[in-house]
């Protein structure tokens, strides 16, 4: 099973084998335009993808935060200053004015080109 992300031009980017994700943790992917995405998997095996850039510090680190859930919705806490971001909407739970970009993701049966996984 391969994890894919939907890019801005609506094309799907194959990122890695699903098995590379650890439930409760994230991992970063490099996008063709140089941006970075943070991919996560929760306990139930659902996958999420948001921008990897922590808007509070500018560092590309959200993939290295811890997953949690609040009122049944999954979030990631930035490893730097601990602000939490809803994984489904990208909204910051600690500051209404801040949102990070989210990416749609899906799993497919094909292996990613290049086959690093």
């Amino acid at each position: 099973m391969t994890l894919e992300l939907r890019l801005d031009d609506d094309s799907w980017l194959a990122v890695c084998e699903l098995s590379r994700l650890t439930p409760g943790r994230g991992i970063a992917a490099l996008l063709p335009d140089g941006r970075q995405a943070a991919l996560f998997m929760d306990r139930a095996g659902r996958t999420y993808a948001i921008d990897n850039r922590d808007p509070f510090t500018g560092a590309q680190v959200l993939s290295r935060g811890l997953l949690g859930s609040a009122q049944g919705r999954p979030f990631v806490a930035s490893p730097l200053l601990k602000q939490r971001f809803d994984l489904e909407s990208g909204r910051c739970l600690d500051d209404d004015e801040v949102t990070v970009k989210i990416f749609a993701c899906r799993t497919s049966e094909f292996s990613p080109a290049g086959g690093h996984a």
Partner: protein
């Protein structure tokens, strides 16, 4: 007043208060509608006179400047330096300067400050005699001191001590001569003066109190020859080649006197509550003014208040509406907190107990030079106080003045750990006390919220450096829910007991069986995951990065390194006891050089290497492990270091081999996961060079063994460690530390250091001693067994990681491009090393192309 032309405001003096007056004019928009002319005697524009002495510690005159040239230019202010006002003609409304400049004014503001008082003794003008007032004075003292060996400072007040510190810093043997029977007679009482005296004498300065300067002696006997010494009123004759007079200041009111303005009997230009002099077109502010309450204020804060008042009053006087009615200046608080010669001195409120029937509460410790006095009224109201040597509580006490403190006054003066049962909590602070200094949020604003997330969201408090989060927690309403977080209704120590007794092996198991109803089956959160991860690790669930445990660890534990602000990591290899061979030092140097890392010596006698990308960590550690290094756990809530002094082996004072013991302890407890980080130190004698009493557990050698101290802390809330047991053998020492650490791990809260834990522990130190020394709970066998298991099971996390390709797979910047470095992690040069390039992080999308 001239109807059609722009009104003119003339300002005489451009010191700190003069500059603040100009700023107040600008804030009120007066500078847009009036011409402002400033005459300044000094060759430089306003600078920070309060920090004058910092010139000697390396601050340049430019750094001391308070005047932004852009400010002067933007507001069209005509500033004439090196051109003092000489005469005022009040009938013609003109002021004329030394260079002959004549200004016709609509309003005149005198901000001439004060001049140093020089006692009229023979020889006072001799070469080598100085005052301490301006940057020019300091430059002259510095130059003359190059050929001088001994200096005398006349005056033991605030400025005198500053001057004495400066002379000492210039390498002169320094005498302080004070006429009063104690130092700083205005601010402190006899007890405070005695504490100050002892501390200052310990620094090598010689103090003569109750002595006046009688004559400055000179080489050729003339009043102008170079200084050779000073005769004191006590008969003592001092040999000296430099004299600084700093025996107080006097208001500089000559200009006002010459033009017939009313001045006080003892000097000072008489002003009303609007800072207006006896001539309604003339104002006076700052140290030259005798305020409406009959006092001359020598502090800058009241001067600033006067500047604000006068700016509004001047605007009114020349019929330019400023921002409303001027706030009358009726007097000011003269509370002060200073650091003189490195000694904290503070006084506030009715420091000398002038109120009728008031009482003193005094704590005095001559050994450490600490003196604290509180003045309280009969009904318990705090009226004022004096703090010498330890003014830490000034910030809490000053705002409480005028009210009855929530705890008894003796508890307010006793040092922590010396029988003071309660430290004063933040609930005692007034509503306007600033809790979060990063975002300037007050207690009142925080108390308006009901939860920490709400506080962060509404006020931003706690989102800067984060050091106030704990205080915020204490301020928020007690919910009656002691649960660790939104997922668990239990405290950390309760969870520890649950995991231990039920032998639970995983976080998911614990969450689903003991979590709050709504949290079961969920993801948990960033608070309880690392806490439970630590409990599982403490109870010996092996390597912390395998299986489910991997998902519980904070990023630092996950990558076995410390994340820094740009997403790069730092690396700290273990250097037990701070002892390292030249070969190993060379390896660290080579690794840092080859990977381009920034290196810095840590406070724990180790070497930190910064700036590694996540994908570089395995290669760096391969080199380090190969050279015999292992993880220093700088990333973990675990034992950090055991510092040591060099001990008996080399030091002539040492009584035990402190290095050997430090290494032994560090190797025993390395990798031990705890509720918070653990620090330790071993000193080889009572001189305590390793600072063991500021550690979670500290060991100090005695002639017959070791003394064990526990619960010490440095950092934001320092605490001296408590003596747990004395004269222990090696084996006794280790056994006691085993028990202490395991008891702490078992019972402490999440992120609770031993210092806080010990303060909170019911029964305190006595209870702890009962449990770990006398085994009152019958726990000791179990505690020792747990530690023995830890010691047996310890394996170096980095060596284990390097040996396992599966574990190494996580060390990539990108899962889909394992060889690509993260383009956002970049560095720029700084002092021959690197620092993070923060510029690049401000770009929304970092391109790799």
């Amino acid at each position: 007043m001239a109807e059609s032309t722009t009104p003119t405001i003339a300002v005489v003096g451009h010191g700190m208060v003069g500059q603040r007056f100009l700023e107040a004019l600008a804030e009120q928009g007066v500078t847009e509608r009036a011409r402002v002319v400033v005459l300044c005697e000094e060759p430089r524009a306003a600078y920070d006179r309060v920090q004058l002495t910092s010139y000697f510690s390396g601050r340049t005159p430019d750094e001391l400047s308070l005047t932004d040239p852009d400010f002067i230019r933007e507001h069209g202010i005509e500033l004439h330096l090196d051109d003092p006002a000489e005469t005022v003609d009040r009938a013609a409304r003109t002021v004329t300067s030394r260079s002959g400049r004549t200004i016709v004014y609509d309003a005149l503001v005198l901000a001439t400050g004060s001049y140093p008082f020089v006692p009229p003794v023979p020889g006072k003008d001799a070469a080598g005699c100085f005052v301490y007032r301006t940057i020019e004075d300091l430059l002259a003292i510095e130059e003359y001191a190059k050929t001088a060996r001994t200096g005398v400072v006349v005056g033991g007040g605030l400025l005198g001590l500053e001057a004495a510190g400066a002379l000492k810093g210039l390498g002169l043997a320094t005498h302080i001569v004070e006429f009063a029977p104690r130092l700083m007679p205005v601010q402190v009482d006899d007890g405070g003066g005695a504490a100050l005296l002892r501390t200052i004498e310990n620094m090598g300065l010689t103090v003569h109190t109750g002595a006046g300067a009688q004559e400055v002696t000179t080489a050729d006997g003339t009043p102008h020859g170079p200084v050779t010494g000073m005769k004191l009123s006590t008969g003592t004759e001092l040999t000296a080649d430099l004299v600084v007079f700093s025996a107080g200041v006097r208001p500089r009111d000559q200009l006002a006197r010459d033009t017939g303005l009313e001045v006080g009997e003892r000097g000072g230009i008489v002003v009303d509550e609007q800072c207006r002099t006896s001539d309604p077109a003339v104002f006076a502010i700052g140290e030259c003014a005798l305020a409406a309450d009959g006092r001359v204020y020598g502090l800058v804060a009241p001067g600033y208040e006067m500047a604000q008042t006068a700016a509004a009053a001047v605007a009114g006087a020349i019929e330019l509406p400023g921002e409303g009615e001027p706030k009358p200046f009726t007097g000011a608080d003269t509370s002060t907190k200073l650091k003189l010669l490195g000694v904290d001195v503070a006084s506030f409120g009715d420091a000398h107990g002038a109120a009728e029937g008031c009482l003193d509460v005094v704590y005095s410790d001559s050994r450490s030079g600490v003196y604290k006095k509180l003045v309280v009224a009969k009904d318990g109201t705090l009226l004022g106080g004096i703090l010498v040597g330890d003014a830490e509580s000034y910030g809490m006490l000053r705002p409480m003045t005028g009210s009855v403190p929530p705890v008894s006054p003796e508890q307010l003066v006793l040092p922590a750990g010396a029988g003071a049962p309660v430290a004063l909590g933040p609930s005692a602070l007034p509503d306007d006390a600033v809790i979060c200094s990063c975002h300037n949020v007050t207690k009142g604003e925080i108390c308006a919220c009901s939860s920490l997330p709400e506080v962060k969201k509404c006020t931003k408090a706690g989102t800067g450096c984060g050091s106030c989060v704990k205080v915020i927690g204490q301020l928020l309403p007690e919910t009656g829910d002691k649960g660790l977080c939104g997922c668990f209704p239990y405290t950390r120590s309760e969870l520890y007991e649950i995991v231990r007794t039920l032998r639970l092996g995983s976080y998911a198991e614990l969450l689903d069986s003991h979590g709050r109803e709504e949290a079961r089956g969920g993801e948990g959160c960033e608070i309880c995951k690392p806490a439970v991860g630590s409990i599982l690790a403490s109870l010996g669930s092996g390597y912390i990065l395998d299986g489910e445990q991997a998902s519980l660890q904070d990023t630092n534990d996950h990558f076995l390194a410390n994340m820094q602000r740009n997403g790069s990591y730092s690396i700290v290899p273990r250097i037990p006891g701070g002892e390292i061979t030249p070969d190993k030092l060379i390896v660290i140097g080579e690794v840092a050089r080859d990977f381009g890392l920034y290196t810095k010596i840590t406070g724990g006698q180790r070497i930190d290497m910064f700036g590694a990308r996540v994908d570089q960590l395995p290669a760096i550690w391969a080199r380090l492990v190969d050279a015999g290094f292992e993880s220093g756990h700088a990333y973990g809530k675990a034992l950090r270091t055991v510092k040591s002094c060099v001990g008996q082996t080399w030091c002539r004072y040492g009584v035990q081999d402190s290095v050997r013991m430090a290494i032994e302890l560090e190797l025993r407890y390395r990798g031990l996961r705890a509720p918070h980080k653990l620090k330790s130190a071993v000193s080889g004698c009572a001189r305590e060079c390793a600072e063991a009493q500021s550690k979670d557990f500290g060991v100090i050698a005695t002639a017959s063994g070791w003394n064990l101290y526990v619960g010490g802390n440095g950092g934001a809330t320092p605490r001296h460690a408590d003596l747990l047991a004395q004269d222990l053998s090696d084996a006794e020492l280790v056994r006691l530390i085993d028990r202490f650490l395991m008891f702490y791990i078992r019972t402490a809260d999440r992120l609770e250091r031993t210092s806080v834990w010990l303060e909170r522990l019911e029964g305190g130190l006595d209870h702890l001693r009962d449990v770990v020394v006398h085994d009152s709970l019958g726990l000791c066998d179990e505690l020792e067994a747990l530690m023995a298991k830890h010691v047996d099971d310890y394996r170096d996390e980095w060596a284990e990681t390097l040996n396992d390709p599966d574990r190494l797979r996580r060390f990539v910047s990108f899962v889909n491009a394992p060889d690509a470095p993260d383009p956002s992690v970049q560095f720029v040069p700084e002092r021959d090393q690197i620092k993070p390039d923060l510029q690049i992080l401000t770009l929304e999308g970092v391109s790799s192309r």
